[in-house]
């Protein structure tokens, strides 16, 4: 993106209008995944393995098939292991194996068969008629145990090129990077701290369970309605798993009730389609909450070793980390991302990071908001905090002293472009929160956090109506108000009111391919595409005006929603407003639209700094968060209220991860807490107001300077809270979540 394309004065961008889908969402009329039905619709239900690891000896579906209410039963044999297209391999194969077990059930909750029946109750009842014979195998759910030499092997041959010889087959990927000489750096240090940290798996915890309605005929043509962060990836994956052509499956994204990374793949969608194909009727499948916990999403659990050396003046002389991430029974745990992000906030001469991707008998990990980054930040920022404490240095000053800035060589390799970490730290230092007095029993923690952000394949279309209003079609599902941001950016370019623009999340048949709403990419990439599509339409509007005036197109410019003659030879004409041009478009050349398709490659990385106060009750071990401030670089906030919402939501999820949330497995390898009563996400009475500071250091890769804001907000909280709790409790907390029993145990160990 050329800098001359950049804009810094705005009319609409930066204002806070009501979101376009507000009315639908407060009246109950918005249609989410489970809210759709179709004539003749059947209801699907899925049978799941009760074993953490078992060979599937035999599945007898005869009794279920004979039941009068049952219209279809499917098992793995009904999916396209050998499709007519190039065979399923790599991640497609992994997704198929996760959607419906093949030879082995790999975790508690792994799907083994499914039924479509005339009602939801009938489907649930009929599951009991399917008889599965299992041969139970030894299992492992802990990351360190899964790497040990005596661990049961989950799948031979799953490791890729990167894994050094001699590792257990459950270690499937290895990453190592860094620069300088860490040993030399440690030799220069005045103080070295080496410590180990553990985080448990957490779930994205979206309140809307996975839900879909599928229709597929034996002609290979299908329709799918589903709650997803990306309906094109759903289209591509379902088509591959069912052996049909991608374009023959039209997928429409419902309103989505939260995703946070967990709805970037498919689970029930191919099952609904397979059932529908067999029954020749539409099939709706809706997961229960327990199914959501047992069979979708969680993050990786992690075990990490950190060593950091610091000089007396606070300079970090060397840093190294080993990050072992467990990602369920499939490759994919983001050990590489954890390693690359962990030290990224700092300007380090000597740094080395190692990441492992380890398989265990748990559900396939899915992305969760800055996947991999929060765990690493927890470990690294805890050690930095301890160094500051021992050397009696201010934790913000130490971070400022070591902070990365434009031109710094990042821990993961290249030099940074313009970034805003220093600005967030300076804002933290100046914030009244940082200097406010603490009460007895309270502690204050801070932490920085980093995330890469993403661009991704993007396609946007904008068409103008005769009355001068505009329809904007984007392909990234709106998870948190992005339709408002898109309309603001289009209004800025077109110069027509925000309210005159209707934004629709287009289905897969209406627009070119769009990557998933992930990687904090929506406001960046769909926003960039919206700006470009609007500019494309403006070019055509200028052409029409030029033709009507009989002057060259380049003698017309677009200003405040009007074509105006520009330049010495343009002549003297009255400005023509957009609606004046569109009113005659049918007879002056036809409809006027703008399009943009590309993979924008300038997402720009993002940093934040969080300040948190915590109070620990020494009697019960319960922690209360008493004050919280999020400071993050947004590049340019298009709709500041929804940017604040992203910051607050990231912090709240981080608070849950730090204090309460964890997957608890029994000795039998079964998940022990698969409902919201036992897997407790933060409720309103757990949290304080969450203050926000939006720092704006424009991203050179976006015409308005936008950086993604969705993910970075969950990176600092784990460490910031651990630091606050450690100060409040007087003992370093090395394991998350810091639940009351763990805090009591730590207090007891500390005497």
């Amino acid at each position: 993106m050329a800098l001359d394309d950049r804009k810094s004065e705005f009319t609409f961008v930066g204002t806070r209008p009501n979101r376009p889908d507000g009315l639908d969402k407060v009246t109950g009329r918005a249609k989410f995944g489970a809210d759709m039905s179709a004539p003749g619709m059947l209801h699907g239900a899925i049978l799941r393995s009760p074993h953490a690891h078992a060979r599937i000896v035999k599945i007898d579906t005869s009794k279920a098939e004979a039941h009068k209410d049952v219209k279809a039963v499917v098992t793995r044999a009904d999916f396209a292991d050998v499709p007519f297209k190039p065979g399923l391999e790599g991640e497609f194969w992994n997704v198929l194996e996760n959607v419906m077990a093949g030879e082995k059930a790999l975790y508690d909750g792994h799907a083994v068969a499914a039924i479509a029946a005339t009602s939801a109750l009938a489907a649930r009842d009929a599951l009991k008629l399917i008889k599965v014979k299992y041969e139970v195998l030894p299992h492992v759910t802990d990351v360190d145990k899964a790497m040990a030499s005596d661990a049961p092997v989950i799948r031979e041959g799953a490791a890729d090129y990167s894994v050094p010889e001699g590792m257990h087959p459950n270690v499937v990927r290895y990453h190592e990077s860094g620069h300088g000489d860490v040993e030399a750096g440690f030799a220069e240090a005045d103080l070295i701290i080496e410590d180990s940290f553990v985080t448990e798996a957490t779930h994205q915890g979206y309140i809307e369970p996975h839900a879909c309605l599928g229709m597929l005929g034996n002609d290979g043509k299908g329709e799918l309605w589903c709650t997803t962060q990306g309906h094109w990836i759903a289209q591509k994956t379902c088509a591959a798993l069912l052996g049909i052509e991608t374009s023959q499956l039209r997928v429409t994204a419902s309103e989505i009730g939260g995703g946070f990374g967990g709805k970037t793949t498919v689970f029930i969608e191919p099952v609904a389609l397979a059932l529908s194909r067999k029954a020749n009727r539409p099939v709706k499948v809706v997961m229960t909450r327990s199914e959501v916990f047992r069979a979708t999403g969680p993050t990786s659990s992690a075990s990490m070793d950190i060593k950091i050396g610091m000089k007396k003046d606070g300079t970090i002389s060397a840093a190294q980390g080993v990050f072992r991430l467990q990602g369920g029974a499939f490759p994919g745990a983001p050990g590489d991302m954890t390693a690359m992000c962990a030290f990224a906030p700092y300007n380090l001469t000597n740094v080395k990071q190692v990441g492992y991707d380890v398989m265990a008998n748990r559900p396939k990990q899915a992305a969760y908001r800055a996947p991999g980054a929060p765990m690493g930040a927890f470990a690294v920022e805890s050690v930095i905090d301890e160094l500051c404490k021992k050397l009696e240095l201010d934790p913000v000053d130490v971070r400022l002293k070591n902070a990365a800035y434009e031109g710094t060589k990042a821990s993961y390799g290249p030099r940074y472009e313009r970034i805003g970490l220093v600005e967030t730290l300076e804002a933290a230092k100046a914030h009244p929160h940082y200097s406010a007095p603490l009460k007895p029993g309270q502690g204050r923690g801070i932490s920085c956090g980093f995330w890469f952000n993403h661009g991704g394949e993007t396609s946007v279309s904008l068409s103008l109506s005769e009355d001068g209003s505009a329809q904007l079609m984007v392909g990234t599902p709106d998870i948190g108000g992005s339709r408002a941001s898109m309309a603001l950016m289009a209004a800025e370019v077109l110069g027509i009111p925000y309210e005159n623009i209707r934004v629709t999340i287009a289905d897969t048949a209406t627009l070119g391919y769009n990557d998933v709403s992930h990687g904090s990419r929506v406001t960046y990439a769909s926003g960039l595409a919206t700006i470009k599509a609007a500019k494309h339409a403006v070019e055509k509007l200028c052409e029409r005006a030029a033709a009507s005036w009989g002057i060259p197109t380049d003698a017309v410019k677009w200003e405040n929603g009007c074509a105006v003659p520009s330049g010495p030879n343009a002549g003297d004409f009255d400005p023509r407003p957009l609606a004046d041009i569109t009113a005659h478009m049918g007879s002056t050349g036809g409809p006027i639209s703008g399009h943009f398709e590309a993979t924008p490659e300038g997402a720009g990385v993002s940093f934040g700094t969080h300040i948190v106060d915590a109070e620990v009750d020494p009697e019960t071990g319960k922690t209360a968060i008493t004050r919280y401030t999020v400071i993050q670089d947004a590049g340019k906030a298009i709709h500041p209220t929804y940017v604040e919402g992203q910051y607050q939501g990231g912090a709240a999820q981080g608070i849950g991860w730090a204090l309460n949330e964890e997957y608890i497995y029994g000795e039998d390898g079964r998940l022990q807490n698969s409902i919201f009563l036992d897997y407790r996400i933060p409720v309103a009475s757990d949290l304080p107001m969450i203050d926000t500071v939006i720092v704006e250091v424009p991203n050179p890769g976006h015409p308005f300077g936008v950086r993604g804001v969705g993910e970075t907000g969950i990176v600092p909280p784990l460490a910031a809270i651990a630091n606050a709790v450690s100060h409040a409790a007087g003992v370093r907390m090395r394991q998350l979540p810091m639940s009351p029993p763990r805090i009591l145990a730590a207090l007891k160990d500390n005497g």
Binding site: R29, P209, G257, G649, A684, M689
Partner: protein, 159 residues
Amino acid sequence: MSKFHVSTTVNGDSVEYLCDPRETLLDCLRDKLNLTGAKEGCGTGDCGACSVSVDGRLVCSCLMLGVETDGKQIETVEGIADGDVLHPLQQKFIEHAALQCGICTPGILVAAKSLLEKNPNPTEEETRYWLAGNLCRCTGYDKIIRAVMETAEELREAS
């Protein structure tokens, strides 16, 4: 299993349906009456996305059976607005961006309305504890609490 005939009132309208004794009020609202505003987030009464009021009492409709509602007055999110005039809570939720994905919004609006009917002047703490049965994963509750308290203040000033 034979079905039961239920006559009840939903948002002021008389309705009838046949239901299996195992079906919840939430199932009946969504699948028989096509009132899909109330959502199923958990099915165990932990998330509050299915909140409705029955004879003036706030309940999780996933914890009440359809057959139990015979002769009762049920209010759902679809009945909060007065014709084309939004309830002040609805208006304030839009203005404050007190929703991101919006899946919890119907339940939170029903619960908040019930709070303000019982306590027109709730403190922040009272508001937070009243809404503690309604999970929101997107917002961190900040803007929700502000929207409810500001609505309460405006309603007090108006009365």
